[in-house]
């Protein structure tokens, strides 16, 4: 705050502009990931086509792993609780927990993205179009496929997206947050359109996501502008201080908060801003869906938590009732619409919407337990959802992934292990005890009950029961129906198998022995967000 006022004072006097003070060490993980992204672009420009994949994958891995280690060191060495980069970024416990989660989940997603198949028919060439610019069904497409091109641009694009995701929950002012939102979203729009098979569906998803995403960004920006008008600052702490002072126009404040919330809730996929989720999740290449369903969700909720816990905490009597409504709508609509789905990716998309509703109960709690519960839930859900999407990439027939539910009939007899693992993920989504899903739900529901939101929790458990119905239906199809004669085959590439194994391990461990991660989330939230 003192810095920025100095800056404005200096500007007003027309004197020298002091050089901004950047704590490079504190924001290292973000810089590293974005740096690797830039390096990836250079690799695309200067390294020969045949070598690109071999270069891109290791640097992406090293970048993410290095950033993760850096994050751990930051949290472990000096337990930071301060702002960095002239107050634009917050470096505190919750942020580091979120960034660590995003980095681990991104690493697992990278396993899926880097998977090129074991060379068998139907799996070769990975998940991405050989050449995105070639029109679907055209000769150019055929040529590029035959030449065995691979679209290695996905790696730098993914790294840019992850960099944005890391920055989004760390942003301590609305403008930085907006920039992070765009850095995160733009590469994702592109990545959505790169599916190797069913390309038209994929491109349609990309266009939809882009259009709706652009709208929501505009909402976010407009909300930020109104809040600036209200408080004279885009800093979250200043907005909070202004609300405490009870000065300024309440109309500007409430309208600003409403518009800002639309932008934030859109990314989280809360009803009624969820329309993009099923289409995009279905159309996007499945590894990208996994990335969005885990990392983007974590990042979006991180930003929601920061905005509502830092800037708008004192306004909570105004936004809580609305958030109750959004949370109830999201849980109920997600669970009910999912029942009618027949495509597994769409089904998981609606499941993700329902889970966003459960997560919002933790946001509504506005307490330390609510914060730590939400953090734990995000981590738990992220692992499970990547695992589930990884399994979907493994079940294939001639036309690519066999994502239609009917094609999975009798998978339990054909490949008991794969079906069993998927069933376990579904039970975790349903929140059966001894899975991470249960621990997470318990954590947020407990926080909500402690803050007197018991009716919300009742709606939550009822929608869990509804949601259980469609998870169980998938299990019924896999195990209790007879396999078709020409059913899909299970193709398990080594990287995909590793991703599934990691997702499974996390789902079991966070369900049976959640204590260490709960402790970590608890410690991370001791001082809440920095202001």
């Amino acid at each position: 705050m003192s810095h920025s006022s100095q800056v404005s004072a200096a500007l007003a006097q027309g004197g020298d502009i002091p050089a901004p003070h950047i704590e490079y060490g504190q924001i290292g993980p973000m810089l590293l990931v974005l740096g690797i992204a830039v390096a990836g672009v250079l690799v695309e420009a200067f390294v020969g086509r045949t070598w690109r994949y071999a270069v891109q994958v290791p640097i992406a891995f090293l970048g993410l792993a290095g950033a993760f280690v850096w994050t751990i060191l930051l949290g472990w060495r000096d337990k930071p609780h301060h702002v960095a980069a002239e107050g634009a970024l917050g470096v505190d416990g919750p942020t580091l927990f979120l960034q660590g989660t995003i980095l681990v989940l991104a690493l697992i997603s990278l396993l899926l993205i880097a998977e090129r198949g074991s060379g068998r028919a139907g799996a070769a060439g990975g998940h991405f179009a050989a050449q995105a610019s070639a029109l679907p069904g055209s000769e150019a497409e055929q040529r590029s496929t035959e030449a065995g091109f691979t679209q290695t641009e996905v790696f730098p694009l993914m790294m840019f997206a992850v960099g944005g995701m890391l920055m989004f929950p760390a942003s301590n002012d609305l403008l930085t947050m907006f920039v992070a939102l765009e850095v995160m979203s733009l590469p994702l729009y592109l990545l959505c359109g790169l599916a190797r098979r069913r390309r038209l569906l994929s491109q349609e998803a990309a266009v939809k996501y882009f259009l709706l995403g652009a709208f929501s960004s505009a909402f976010f920006l407009y909300g930020s502008a109104l809040l600036y008008g209200y408080s004279g600052s885009v800093r979250l702490a200043d907005i909070s201080a202004q609300i405490t002072k009870d000065a300024g126009s309440e109309t500007l404040l409430l309208a600003g908060v409403a518009l800002l919330s639309v932008g934030l809730l859109f990314k989280a996929g809360a009803v009624p801003f969820h329309m993009w989720k099923p289409d995009v999740y279905q159309g996007a290449p499945t590894p990208i869906t996994a990335l969005m369903a885990s990392c983007t969700l974590v990042s979006a909720f991180g930003a929601i938590l920061r905005v509502y816990y830092v800037a708008l905490e004192t306004l909570r009597w105004d936004w809580r009732p609305v958030m109750w409504g959004v949370s109830i709508l999201t849980m109920v609509a997600g669970a009910i619409i999912a029942i009618t789905q027949t495509d597994l990716k769409r089904l998981l998309a609606y499941s993700s919407i329902a889970h966003a509703g459960f997560l919002l109960t933790g946001v509504v709690a506005t307490s330390r337990n609510g914060l730590s519960g939400t953090l734990f839930y995000l981590a738990a859900y992220g692992f499970t959802t990547i695992g589930a999407f990884a399994v979907i990439t493994m079940v294939r027939d001639a036309g690519g992934e066999a994502a239609h539910l009917s094609r999975w009939a009798g998978l339990g007899k054909r490949s008991p292990v794969v079906a069993g693992v998927f069933a376990f993920f579904l039970l975790a989504f349903a929140g059966i005890p001894l899975t991470s899903g249960f621990t997470g739900k318990f954590a947020v529901f407990k926080a909500a009950v402690e803050e007197g939101a018991t009716p919300l929790v009742v709606v939550g458990v009822i929608s869990s029961a509804v949601a259980a119905f469609f998870y169980v239906r998938v299990i019924v199809v896999m195990f209790f129906s007879e396999p078709e004669a020409d059913g899909p085959t299970v193709v398990a590439g080594p990287a995909t198998a590793a991703a599934v194994a990691l997702g499974l391990t996390a789902t079991v461990v966070l369900g049976v022995l959640p204590q260490p991660i709960l402790d970590l989330a608890g410690h991370a939230t001791t001082h809440m967000f920095v202001r």
């Binding site: 007899k413 039970l427 349903a430 059966i432 005890p433 001894l434 249960f438 621990t439 318990f442 954590a443 529901f445 407990k446 009950v449 402690e450 018991t454 929790v457 009742v458 458990v461 009822i462 869990s464 029961a465 259980a468 119905f469 169980v472 239906r473 299990i475 019924v476 195990f479 209790f480 129906s481 007879e482 959640p514 204590q515 709960l518 402790d519 608890g522």
Partner: protein, 526 residues
Amino acid sequence: MSDFPWLSVLIALPLVGAFIVGVLPRERETLVKQTALGVSLVVGALALVMAARFDTGGARFQFDEKYWWIKQFGVHWAVGVDGIALTLIVLSVILVPLVMLASWSEDDRSGGVDVPAKRSVKTYFALLLTLEAAMIGVFAATDVFLFYVFFEAMLIPVYFIIGYYGGAQRSYAAVKFLLYSLFGGLLMLVAVIWLYPLSSKSTADGGLGHGTFMFDELSRMNIDPTTAKWLFLGFFIAFAIKAPMVPVHTWLPDAAQQSPAGALVLIVGVLDKVGTYGMMRFCLELFPGAAKWATPVVLGFAVLSIIYGAVLAIGQVDLKRLVAYTSVSHFGFIVLGIFAMTSQGQSGAALYMVNHGFSTGALFLLVGFMIVRRRSARIGDYGGVQKAAPVLAGTFLVAGLSGLSLPGLAPFVSEFLVIVGTFSRYRWAAVLAVSGVVLAAIYILWMYQRTMGGPKAPEVEGMKDLTAREKWAVAPIIAIIVAMGFFPQPVLDVINPTVKQTLARVDRHDPAPKTTGNVAENGARP
């Protein structure tokens, strides 16, 4: 040996067994079955040794262990048994090996009805062992959270057993079973979560000053009446679905009709007991005020279950459905005894849980044996079985008579205690409940008459009598039913101290100064 972690070992052992069975080669079916049976016998023996060391005059919870599990949530791995939990654990560990014996052949598991394809043997036995671990855990848990975990975890193996090994409508029945139970369980989850902030309130506000899920601490709380009523409902609805009580019983007949007979013994004989056990342990002791508030309504539903279940049982044409409806009626008696809140009523109810497990278990096993032979569960497809298979018919008669509470067989003692105990406080309920006894005679004897008596049906011609394996599966149960019909006292001695504590907690005293012991002895004399 006093520090030996009896209960943790009892829970872990079947799980280890399930794992071993799971990794055995698929083709070695006999080895799989022998391993599973061996593990369950070891578990049974261990549990019986533990039961023998139980001190009826000792502390309420014995063999207790307590370690932190999830400190952040205030959750302990806390196990321990009181008299009632102990008898139910013994019931479970006796039934599991017998069920395995009765599930030995492919026919036993498929219920003899259209098998689409050969189904995995080892999965079935691994699921049975997993279920055994969950059953022991659910009765042993003294931490409410842990209880909930076992309560839900128990559903999964049953769901797969019904869905994978059941009859034609198996997936419908399995999903219905799971959704009913899950829905009830989730309502209970809200109540469980709610307990934590209540317990963290200061003692002046009726809390404990620290958040916990330990049952014995929670039962010392003074929850304000309105909250207590909500919490009571959360627990009660879950248990009523589980028990099952009318009108939330409809999953049971479907599950019963589709499930393999062996697993059915465990579903009705043990799993459903979690409902009535939970009512007694949690609904009454955690929320005594609310329990008293709800008593008239609960008694009404109990009486309704007794009569409605019995009437529907009379009308059934499917053997398994029939026995399932008789259970609805019997569970009505158990709930009646629990909520009468007299020492006879509750002792009777607790004893009834054990007796019903054995008597219905025997009935389901025998029905299963019949279905394997005739390949049909329709009553109309039988007739004159006693001429073709006299031993089968004879044991069926004994099991059936125990189902109608014939004096001299175990269920009589408990049913008598329940009715006497209810009569001393709620005369109307007892009078109505007695009609259930009359109806029981109709449904059991009429079923016997139609299947076993009369002229031999052509299809029954040449029906084989019980094999040695089948005799081994059912004989121990018949022996227990007869023995407990004459000597219920040892079991009552184990149960009674717990009942006394429950009643002390709900602050109810018997209206007439009769001791339970006397009544039990009277009841034992046929």
